[in-house]
């Protein structure tokens, strides 16, 4: 049970990093990135490839972050003139293209089989302690990211992003370079998400094209929306709620003796239900973004 809890929390932490990355783009800057998971994919694959080639873990993560930020820069460029819905779908398309490449370029990515046997971090430690160390490491990163994000959000840069999110024209006439704001927001989000992707690859010992399924991005969106778009605490709450629901379904099934089709349906349905209920009754999320009062 302890192990299970550890791993659930570790997953939650990893997803929290991704969700914070998404929030930086979607919550602050209003960029509907539906391809966010591509950054995680880059992080995971970079880790897989570098580590398999004998490189150290940090080099894998760094490569992943660099690649993701480069991709982020390109995506933001693409956003120069696209309307936000259109941009969202364009990012979705980019993630799909990347996934197709990952599935087909076997020489680099191991094809549909993916890259296996990626060593975990802290393998030197004895049994429960390696998992504990991993969790502590992840949570540390989450705390750091949350602190950074909330600092960004309430400061000058965040203000610029939020203004761009709602009134881009006004922001431009105040002298903000929207293009650079966008690039920086997306690249920041990309870096966070890529770190998470790299951790994910280590934790699962595996990197595969399924990491980049559109459904994964939707899951991130679900977390962010349940919690509260634009609010750090909200995002973290959202991650916890979704992760808890995912974790609990198998137990609920054992407890109430559901049939397998029902249990399967429940796994998808429960998240849908929570999300819908949240949206209907608390459309700004469980912890909504507050108007920031300046004394």
């Amino acid at each position: 049970m302890f192990d299970f809890l550890l791993s659930s929390l570790t997953f939650a932490g990893i997803y929290a990093l991704m969700a914070l990355g998404l929030n930086l783009q979607a919550g602050y800057a209003g960029l509907l990135n539906f391809g966010n998971i591509a950054f995680a994919g880059l992080g995971a694959y970079a880790t897989g490839i570098v580590v398999q080639a004998g490189g150290p873990a940090w080099a894998g993560a760094a490569t992943g972050i660099a690649l993701a930020m480069a991709l982020g820069w390109c995506i933001a460029r693409l956003g120069r003139q696209l309307g936000s819905d259109y941009w969202g779908i364009a990012t979705l398309a980019i993630a799909e293209i990347l996934r197709t490449v990952a599935t087909n370029e076997g020489w680099l990515t191991g094809g549909a089989n993916g890259i296996t046997s990626i060593p975990s971090l802290f393998e030197g430690l004895a049994r429960p302690w390696n998992a504990v160390a991993f969790l502590a490491f992840v949570l540390g990163l989450v705390a750091l990211a949350a602190w950074g994000c909330s600092r960004l959000g309430s400061g000058r840069f965040g203000r610029a992003l939020r203004l761009m999110r709602e009134e881009p024209k006004l922001a431009a006439c105040m002298g903000y370079d929207l293009q650079s704001l966008k690039s920086r927001a997306v690249m920041g989000g990309a870096a966070l998400t890529a770190i998470a992707g790299s951790l994910y690859a280590h934790y699962m010992s595996f990197a595969g094209p399924d990491y980049m399924l559109a459904a994964e991005t939707f899951l991130l969106w679900t977390m962010v929306m349940i919690g509260g778009l634009g609010n750090i605490a909200g995002v973290l709450v959202g991650v916890l709620v979704v992760q808890a629901a995912h974790t609990l379904v198998p137990f609920a099934k054992d407890h109430f003796q559901f049939s397998s089709d029902t249990a399967g349906a429940m796994r998808i349905g429960l998240i849908g239900l929570i999300l819908l209920a949240c949206l209907l009754w608390r459309s700004e999320g469980l912890v909504p973004e507050k108007l920031r009062k300046i004394p």
Binding site: R151, C173, G175
Partner: protein, 265 residues
């Protein structure tokens, strides 16, 4: 009065065959307050949009403070010292009035500055806060400073637009109908505020339809009609200019203008 701050030459613009600006030449000297007048649809806003980089021009040149700016993006032009307001202002729903005003300050907004907040960044923030508070007070927006900016009434949004433009200490301010929908009493306050800014060295270009406003503010008026400049004169000469009277003020303008003058005498 001799130094030309803004120099527009041969400006032309058409939207899909519809010629909106047709060879406009116009110069604004440092320290002037120029009123840009003209019938609806004559191209005033378009001129402003082009000058501030929000719209591309078809031909012509614009020189500001000695450098050509016609190819620059909007934010770069702002950086060079031209600020503007919009004719139809829209404001964000999830930012407070104060925040919007603060956002308009031109202090740096780097990621690292925001993240690490070194002393200079903190001081800049404090300065911006003081300035925003002062401007809001001057334009009677103090009571609504913590409301979402989008919840302001039409006129209040206009005022907030002016506050934003003033946050950046521009060399030149371009106002697109700053008082349409603003309460008359406040118009006088705005005139006073603008005159003060002018006295402190700011150059103004104002698009406006309210003749009282124009007359109490401007040092010179440029009248646009169907994309061409038809007059450039002192405000009090407007009513006697036939082209202007016919195209802009309307046939009965004389009597009405006089009646209005009388009423205020």
């Amino acid at each position: 009065m001799s130094e030309k701050l803004l120099h527009i030459a041969g400006l032309g613009k058409a939207f899909g065959g519809n010629v909106v600006l047709d060879g406009v030449d116009m110069a604004v000297a440092r320290g002037e307050i120029v009123g840009l007048l003209g019938p609806n649809g004559s191209g005033k806003s378009t001129l402003l949009n082009i000058a501030t980089g929000f719209e591309a021009l078809d031909r012509g040149s614009i020189v500001f403070d000695g450098t050509p700016i016609e190819k620059l993006a909007a934010h770069r032009i702002v950086g060079r010292g031209i600020a503007r307001t919009f004719q139809l202002p829209s404001m964000p729903t999830r930012m407070s009035v104060m925040e919007v005003a603060m956002a308009a300050s031109t202090a740096r907004h780097g990621v690292w500055d925001t993240l690490l907040r070194p002393a200079p960044a903190r001081q800049a923030e404090q300065a911006a806060r003081d300035k925003a508070a002062r401007l809001l007070r001057e334009l009677l927006l103090e009571p609504v400073r913590d409301l979402p900016a989008a919840a302001l009434s039409g006129g209040q949004k206009k005022l907030l637009g002016i506050v934003c433009a003033l946050m950046g200490d521009p060399q030149m301010l371009m106002l697109d109908e700053p008082t349409a929908g603003v309460h008359p009493n406040l118009r006088n306050d705005i005139v006073q505020a603008l005159l003060r800014l002018n006295a402190a060295g700011m150059t103004l270009v104002v698009v406006e339809h309210d003749m009282h406003f124009i007359q109490s503010l401007c040092t010179r008026c440029v009248v646009l009609d169907r994309g061409r400049i038809v007059a450039s004169c002192r405000p009090d000469e407007l009513a006697s200019n036939e082209r202007v009277a016919e195209a802009y003020l309307g046939a009965a303008a004389h009597q009405r203008a006089e009646a209005a003058q009388e009423a205020f005498a």
